[in-house]
Amino acid sequence: MANFLIWVVWVVAAFACLASALAVVTFRNPFYSALSLIGNLASLAVLFLLLSGEFVAAGQVLVYGGAVMVMFLFVIAYLGDRSEDSPWSGGPSWQVVGAVLAGGALLAEVCVVVGLKAGGLLSSTEPVGRSFGSPESIGKLFLTDHLLAFEVTSVVLLVAAVGGVVLGAHARALESDAGA
């Protein structure tokens, strides 16, 4: 019974995930795309929970669904209505055909490799304890085995913050030049 419930949750989350990803790509208005990406991130967090990644699921909702998407929506609202024409209006161009072919090839490659080579390996999951994926064990790993990654991440975030400020200041200087 519990197994059946987990399957139901998985199927619902997976379809929500795929539908919202398609919506992100097809909506003409970027505001709606950003809103459906929030749905995509939330359903991915459900899948992370099913894989017992509790801390990552919480981080996904807080960092992505909270901070990053608010920044996106803020910028989209700041820029105003910039809807574009649907890329497939006016018949399929060679660009659309090529992109769909490339995407189909990518998907087929992954599915063939998984089906041929990894089918047996992927069905035997190691048993894990209750503390798997808890903040405590993730934090311990971060500060012991992956200390370098932790420190590099902080430098990356600092550089990105400086870059954001510099780009904003540059844009403001250009605007005042244009106004003068």
Binding site: A21, Y64, M71, A99, G163, L167
Partner: protein, 102 residues
């Protein structure tokens, strides 16, 4: 493990990645291209966490958190560029942005 095997997560992640790649290739608004890149990064995150569950080790989850930090940095720089373009009243269309001259 109860529920679906890891291969279902791999297939789901492949479909998500393809959707994001199609978005990057087909759309012309840089905002939507950034959103599609987020989809691709998240499909990689799903795969990392699925394999960390498969092997019973948490290193994949640590890596997924690092990917999230990199994605946040990428969004900051990308949105900064888009705002700089928007302030100059340039068309937000990656096919028309041909030069990098300020």
């Amino acid at each position: 493990m109860q529920g679906p095997d890891i291969q279902w997560y791999v297939v789901l992640s492949a479909i998500l990645f393809t959707t994001g790649a199609l978005g990057v290739m087909l759309r012309r608004s840089p905002l939507i291209i950034l959103l599609s890149v987020e989809i691709m990064l998240n499909s990689a995150n799903l795969l990392l966490i699925a394999f960390s569950r498969l092997h019973g080790r948490e290193d994949g989850q640590v890596f997924a958190i690092s990917v999230m930090a990199v994605a946040a940095s990428e969004v900051v720089v990308g949105l900064g560029l888009i705002v700089a373009l928007g302030r100059r009243n340039v068309d937000l269309d990656v096919d028309k942005l041909r030069t990098l001259r300020g």
